[in-house]
């Protein structure tokens, strides 16, 4: 076909434009930032330690942000209970350890429980309101937020709980800089979980069905995809990512209490919006950026104390919405009204 030839050129051209136009400045910026961090790490031990710590905590934010993005992409609903759900599953892990499981046994069991919990909640509470309006669904997740909060403090009380450390309490020695094993440990665990979820979406038939259901539900149904089931599984996967975030947030905070995930939820919001709210990769990168920059800001900018961390995340949200509402990686523009 003659037309196919020309349109292929068009296709290639527009693809090239997409690569050259939208992505590269962001990528350049990120590379510049990474080089800056590297130089800082080489020049100062404290800077290096803070960066590693920031990356670890940032990966936790990124994991929760990714959970939010998965749900948002599929239904345009922000799950306000995502953080509390993560907190609940962390309590479940604590309970399992109390009952005699080892840390990593409890970890694995918790992920399974989180998946079941996520799908069941979607089917029972979200599905009935989903078709009505996004706002109704959001209000249900807010109700879930309060409910989980109440249930957790009812069952486990609100005093602090302590879990055994997941990683040996030793330090690595990297070129003379002492780094607590905890932080690379957190980073690697979160990274592996995120990569597994990514691979599931990218390489499996189930993942293809889920992507299709999120992109165009009706067209997916025409191909025989059970869209409702995909949404439920999506909630399950989001709950698993949240559970990883909760389990890795606990050791970085060194204790467990019902408010564990509340500030982290705000950082995850900021990370998700920074990344573009519809972009899974953006959510993870956004989490890392927020984690590292907050950690460095607190140390090096005298006016910003640790109390101001959350307000700074709020400021990031507002600034991103004012300057680049589609975020760093949002290729589609946000629907304006």
């Amino acid at each position: 076909m003659a037309t196919a030839e020309t349109s292929r050129l068009d296709g290639l051209r527009s693809r090239g434009a997409a690569l050259g136009g939208a992505v590269s400045p962001v990528v350049l910026l990120l590379i510049a930032g990474a080089i800056g961090l590297l130089i800082g790490c080489l020049r100062s031990d404290v800077f290096a330690q803070l960066t590693v710590q920031g990356l670890a905590i940032g990966s936790v934010y990124g994991s929760l942000a990714l959970a939010l993005v998965l749900v948002y992409r599929a239904t345009h609903v922000i799950n306000f209970a995502q953080g509390e759900l993560a907190m609940l599953t962390t309590y479940i892990a604590w309970q399992l350890i109390q009952w005699g499981l080892s840390y990593w046994e409890a970890f694995a069991a918790t992920l399974v429980i989180a998946f079941v919990l996520g799908t069941v909640l979607q089917v029972t509470l979200l599905r009935p309101v989903q078709h009505r309006s996004v706002i109704a669904a959001v209000i249900v997740t807010v109700g879930l937020f309060i409910l989980i909060d109440g249930v957790v403090s009812w069952i486990w009380g609100s005093e602090l709980k302590f879990m055994p450390p997941p990683f040996a309490r030793t330090n690595y020695d990297v070129g003379g800089v002492s780094i607590a094993r905890l932080y690379p440990g957190i980073f690697v665990v979160v990274l592996i979980s995120v990569l597994l979820v990514w691979a599931l979406f990218r390489f499996t038939k189930l993942g293809l069905g889920m992507r299709a259901a999120a992109l165009r539900p009706q067209a997916a149904a025409f191909a025989g995809v059970r869209v409702d089931r995909m949404l439920a599984i999506g909630w399950g996967l989001a709950a698993v990512l949240g559970a990883v975030a909760g389990l890795m947030a606990e050791p970085s905070q060194f204790f467990l209490d019902p408010t564990l995930m509340q500030p982290i939820l705000v950082y995850a919001f900021a990370a998700a919006v920074l990344g573009g709210l519809e972009s899974p990769a953006g959510a993870v990168v956004g989490g890392l950026i927020i984690g590292v920059s907050l950690n460095l800001l607190i140390q090096y900018v005298p006016a910003i104390s640790s109390t101001l961390q959350t307000p700074v995340a709020f400021a990031v949200l507002i600034i991103v919405l004012l300057i680049k509402p589609s975020g760093l990686f949002g290729h589609r523009t946000v629907r304006r009204v």
Partner: protein
């Protein structure tokens, strides 16, 4: 012989708005059937009633089974492929992923289906890694058709395939549809504004007006009908 698809007194509504007021039609196995009619006559809604994306009542039987309670995914699983108006491709996915999605309900290897599809659409094979959104409108429509065909459907529902396409491409598209019908025995129910083309391809046709079947018959009968000629063929 009973028809592959039978609609009997089907009604459908969007909220309070009644769109179909009792449509009855039959599609024989191995045939191409065209549905014609002005805008708003309920052509698209008829297809949506079959595939279960609109609330409907009345009898819809496909291969002897009632479709009344099935949703779109269930209907697809029975072997009805619906190519909606405005292309059913996923522009964010690659050509390859779009085709794989077509075979979503099938188990085991889909290699034979893919090879068969590539024999009709050879250019798809070399461009499998390309994002569907970067294809031209005509190519996307072809991809939508190819994707529906990977499902190995017994019945293909085609909604306004010519919409927004250049005449050359429309002719090409209908040529392939006819080829699929003749060589693969694919049954097709096509909704089309371009009555000329549709009646050339189809053996029988139905003309809808205001949610009812106003006229039906073989393509020859319809083509020679004065009112059809004046309203839809324009001569």
């Amino acid at each position: 012989m009973t028809a592959l698809l039978e609609l009997e007194d089907v009604e459908a509504r969007y909220g309070p708005v009644h769109v179909l007021h009792g449509i009855s039609l039959a599609v024989e196995e191995g045939s191409i059937v065209a549905v014609l009619g002005p805008n708003g006559a309920g052509k698209t809604t008829t297809l949506r009633a079959i595939s279960g994306t609109v609330r409907r009542s009345g009898g819809i039987r496909f291969a002897g089974r009632s479709l009344g309670r099935l949703g779109p995914d269930g209907v697809a699983r029975l072997g009805v492929a619906h190519v909606p108006e405005g292309r059913g491709t996923f522009s964010e996915l690659t050509v390859w992923e779009n085709l794989k999605l077509g075979a979503y309900t099938r188990r085991g290897s889909i290699q034979p289906e893919l090879e068969r599809v590539f024999s009709y659409f050879p250019w798809l094979s070399e461009r499998r890694r390309q994002q569907a959104g970067t294809l031209s409108g005509g190519e996307q429509q072809m991809l939508a058709l190819a994707r529906a065909f990977v499902l190995r459907p017994r019945l293909l529902l085609l909604d306004e395939p010519s919409l927004g396409l250049a005449p050359v491409l429309v002719a090409e598209l209908f040529r392939i549809v006819r080829e699929l019908n003749e060589r693969e025995g694919l049954t097709v129910l096509v909704v089309e504004q371009n009555a000329q083309l549709a009646l050339q391809a189809a053996q029988t046709g139905y003309v809808l007006e205001a949610g009812r079947v106003a006229l039906s018959g073989t393509s020859e009968e319809l083509r020679s009908d004065d009112s059809v000629r004046r309203s839809y063929l324009g001569y």
